[in-house]
């Protein structure tokens, strides 16, 4: 009788232990499979900076208002640029204080030829871009997401301090499209202006007017890519649009910020001379004949490997057309040693800034005027 009871109790204990074990393991499995996991590589929400220029649409949806795309972004998703994420109905920047490129470059590399010649600048860039140019030579940054680049934590305060420490008088936002790190750029530029530094950015020009106008008071100069003068090119080669770029160019000019325009000439894609003439006329009429225009030589890169480098004859012809139209400062870039790397006085024709590639070899301006004839050369010289 006693043995039976003991056996019965033992069995019950075993049953209870087994069932408890099963319940615990089962619950663990269920919790593991149903618990929401944060997206891989994304910093915790509390470390992110809220994006500027976006609209809450309700139901957790937001619409980014920063660039021409105006992405409508669902909860948990990102915009086309991959740098702005919607978390719980709030849009955050993933690249604020998170650059993947910090480098000292000559100003001429930008290219800005009418701004502090021979000076060096501290340049910042981050991951990703809002365009998908097939020829991008910075694709290793611009066509990668923030999780795919090696980033450095650097606050705006640290960025400005770094410029002083490395002896740079200017700060540049370049390499990828700075619009996709707008908040970071804005905060650095604002601090840099307070510290008396020169600031500028190199952009594809697809930023929307409102954020652009807010940014320009903290910028001394802008270098804008006018990649072509057809919507077709922008759509097929850059997955973008021409019209927002033209609008940006006009706004920068209106706001009195120093502007230089870059046109990368790609064989067969945008080297039609009639279109180039149209573009030059547009620049003359809307931005002024004093606006420097850089024709840049294409080299095969990223996904455009089958096209050859731009022939020198094409660049020369383009420059000739621009000068015929009346543009006074027309340069040829990415062709070191070309005579059109240099600046010539539009009045007396003398060589006033001699450059070989990015190196300034001779500087013959006095207080912003040609040293030979005194003709005023527009730009930021001191």
């Amino acid at each position: 009788m006693v043995t039976d009871n003991w056996k019965s109790r033992t069995r019950r204990v075993i049953e209870i232990v087994a069932i408890s074990l099963f319940v615990v393991i089962g619950v663990t499995i269920i919790l593991q499979t149903t618990a929401p996991s944060p997206p891989q590589g994304v910093p915790p929400k509390e470390k992110l900076t809220e994006a500027r220029y976006y609209q809450k649409l309700g139901d957790g949806m937001v619409q980014c208002q920063l660039c021409f795309r105006k992405c409508t972004i669902q909860e948990g998703a990102r915009g086309v640029c991959e740098n702005r994420i919607n978390i719980g109905g709030t849009l955050y920047s993933l690249v604020y204080a998170n650059p993947c490129a910090i480098q000292i470059d000559p100003v001429e590399k930008e290219p800005l030829f009418h701004l502090l010649p021979g000076d060096t600048t501290l340049c910042f860039g981050t991951a990703s871009c809002n365009q998908k140019c097939l020829f991008c030579h910075n694709w290793h940054m611009s066509q990668r997401t923030v999780e795919e680049t090696d980033n450095i934590a650097l606050s705006p305060e640290e960025a400005v301090t770094m410029a002083g420490e490395v002896g740079c008088n200017s700060i540049s936002f370049t390499y990828n499209e700075p619009t996709v790190f707008y908040e970071y750029m804005y905060d650095i530029a604002k601090l840099a202006k307070e510290m008396g530094l020169v600031t500028y950015f190199h952009s594809n020009g697809t930023i929307n007017p409102e954020p652009l106008r807010a940014l320009l008071p903290y910028m001394d100069a802008a270098c804008i890519d006018l990649k072509a003068f057809t919507e077709e090119f922008y759509l097929n080669v850059s997955s973008s649009e021409l019209e927002p770029v033209l609008r940006t160019l006009k706004i920068i000019k209106e706001e009195g910020v120093w502007l230089e325009v870059v046109n990368l000439l790609i064989p067969t894609l945008n080297d039609d001379m009639d279109k180039l003439r149209e573009m030059c006329i547009w620049i003359r009429d809307n931005l002024g004949e004093d606006t420097p225009l850089h024709f840049s030589r294409f080299f095969p890169a990223y996904k455009l490997l089958k096209l050859p480098p731009t022939p020198l004859e094409t660049l020369d012809k383009a420059r000739e057309i621009a000068q015929e139209v009346g543009l006074k400062y027309v340069y040829i870039g990415n062709a070191p040693g070309h005579i059109a790397n240099s600046t010539f006085c539009p009045q007396c024709g003398e060589l006033i800034i001699k450059r070989v590639g990015f190196i300034v070899q001779q500087y013959l301006l006095k207080e912003g005027r040609c040293a030979y004839c005194g003709y005023p050369i527009p730009g930021i010289w001191d």
């Binding site: 087994a18 022939p311 040693g337």
Partner: protein
Amino acid sequence: MPIVATQSPESGTNEPRILTRRLIIILIVGIVIVGALGAGVTIETECQHCDGDGKIECPVCKGIGAIAIPFSVECACRGESPDCPVCGSIGRYNTLTTTPCDICLGKGYEICPKCGGDGRIKLIERFLKR
């Protein structure tokens, strides 16, 4: 006195009880086996193939993500400058361009085939893959 085999009056109801007990035991054993398997699935360890990284270096581009392509280009001096620092007055110079690696699509790494990129591998998976 003849020996009479006696039968407990309750012996008729004992068989279903024994059957029930056996079923319970089978159920418990099943539960324990399922539980053990569940634990094997749940308990994760670092993937030894990728050292928990979830990625392995692309064997083609060696982790760079890019392939360098050399090409020759006409120098802006056209070979007419006697002291061209770019081409040495040859008229052409060699340079490089880069394109994303075809194998890893420019990422520099491939997803670890053992853990599928998690960097963690479940005990039961490890056991089965041995």
